[in-house]
């Protein structure tokens, strides 16, 4: 297909691409453009070009290693076609058995930004201590300073949360208003029912 030989030459961008893939293969978490540029000691624009080359090389269907933009940075993951094989060898300890309560808590913190346990409890109408503790343990929530008023600890979602849910960043979450479609849908169905009624 397309220029698979480019990475082999000693053209500077290709060398930078090699450096970038080296950084990505050893990194423990997604790397931002700035982190990549500062480690590669090159400028961000050129690193972006290199990432473009790598994105073409490491993509679904073409490679078992896939470059993805996730959690505000870039990272390698396994291709989806290898999911079954990965499932045989690796566990998914973080997302396994996430309860409805845990998902609601994550939704609250992801959408509303840093929240305290009482905040979460008020919104859900149930105490949040156990759920928050579980999410902290899974690394999906982390402490984010203290509340100005009460001094209660606030929690934020972590890059790991973004990564598990495959979000490029928190802004990739759909808008809450869009999720409210349900109300529209309800109204329509109500009207449909009303229209059926014999006058």
């Amino acid at each position: 297909m397309d220029r698979p030989l480019r990475l082999i030459s000693s053209n500077p961008v290709d060398r930078l691409a090699r450096t970038t893939e080296a950084l990505l293969v050893v990194a423990s978490q997604p790397l931002t453009l700035e982190e990549l540029a500062s480690a590669a000691d090159d400028d961000a624009e050129r690193v972006e070009t290199a990432l473009g080359l790598l994105g073409e090389r490491y993509r679904e269907g073409r490679s078992g290693i896939v470059l993805e933009q996730v959690a505000g940075g870039w990272a390698f993951r396994a291709a989806k076609e290898a999911a079954e094989a990965c499932g045989r060898l690796f566990e998914r300890p973080i997302e396994r058995g996430l309860s409805a309560a845990a998902l609601e808590t994550l939704a609250i913190v992801a959408y509303l930004g840093p929240c305290t346990r009482p905040d979460i409890a008020r919104l859900r109408g149930v105490a949040a201590d156990g759920v928050v503790a579980g999410l902290l343990e899974r690394g999906m929530l982390a402490e984010a300073g203290r509340d100005d008023e009460g001094g209660a600890v606030r929690y934020r979602v972590t890059p790991l949360f973004e990564r598990v849910f495959g979000l490029e960043s928190l802004s990739a979450l759909p808008r809450l208003d869009d999720l409210g479609e349900h109300t529209e849908d309800l109204r329509e169905r109500l009207e449909a029912v009303a229209a059926q009624r014999p006058a």
Partner: protein, 252 residues
């Protein structure tokens, strides 16, 4: 038409309406999990299938659904009932509507996350460091060489003479406390260890505690402590007391 038998199929529940109400009342189903709008729609759709308006059914349904809504509202207001009391009914209704809308959005967001997790279940990535990743380099700022001389001098100075002060501590014999605690338990069924050793020196209190452990080991007492650092309650063992009572009863 029997409202109670209305078949429901909502996220949290599938079955007849009266079973749903029973589960909510028995607190086996969170009212917050129950999507009341879907129930209303199910009822209306059933109603629409008929030619005439079933007023009895409508009345019954209104009563049941109102009860369910109240339960659900109370659940959402659980944490600030006082605020609710301060509001006049109209304000409370508005506040409630606002909260319900907010909660509905959170539920929708959670549902979106859940779907997303399902879609992304085929994404595997490494957690933690790569197997052959370089080890993080640790760097030290420039240091004053005089520190090395100082460190060496510290090592070369004579060690301080060891304090033998603790050798002079007086430890009373354990037997003294064994006798004392047995005497207390002969008079009373239970006593508070902390009260009993109040005023003793640390060394004496330590020996008293040892005596306590001895008595426990021998089964002469039972120990109870509500939480770490809470007062230790010492009591005659239940079994022994029963035996004694039995003996008293038999000899009577």
């Amino acid at each position: 038409m029997a409202v109670r038998e209305l078949e429901l199929d909502i996220d949290a529940f599938e079955g007849p309406f009266d079973l749903l109400l029973t589960l909510v009342l028995k607190q086996e189903l969170e009212p917050a999990e129950v999507d009341v709008a879907t129930i209303v729609l199910a009822f209306l759709e059933r109603l629409a299938e008929r030619d005439e308006l079933d007023l009895d059914a409508c009345g019954e349904f209104l009563v049941l659904v109102a009860a369910l809504l109240e339960l659900k509202a109370r659940g959402l207001f659980e944490f600030d009932d006082e605020t609710l009391d301060e509001l006049d009914p109209e304000e409370a209704a508005e506040e409630l509507a606002r909260r319900l809308a907010e909660y509905r959005r959170i539920r929708a967001a959670a549902a979106w996350l859940s779907e997303r997790l399902e879609q992304e279940s085929g994404r595997y990535f490494r957690l933690g460091p790569a197997p052959l990743a370089p080890r993080p380099a640790r760097r030290v700022a420039p240091q004053d060489p005089a520190l090395l001389g100082d460190a060496f001098r510290r090592l070369a100075s004579d060690p301080p003479s060891v304090s033998l002060a603790h050798m002079a501590l007086r430890f009373p014999p354990v037997a003294q406390f064994l006798g004392r605690f047995r005497a207390v338990l002969a008079r009373r069924r239970r006593f508070d260890f902390d009260t009993e050793v109040r005023g003793l020196t640390r060394a004496e209190a330590a020996v008293a505690f040892l005596a306590l452990l001895e008595l426990r080991k021998a089964g002469e007492i039972e120990l109870d402590q509500a939480s770490p650092f809470a007062p230790i309650r010492v009591a005659r063992p239940q079994r022994r007391e029963e035996e004694e009572n039995e003996w008293i009863a038999r000899s009577a």
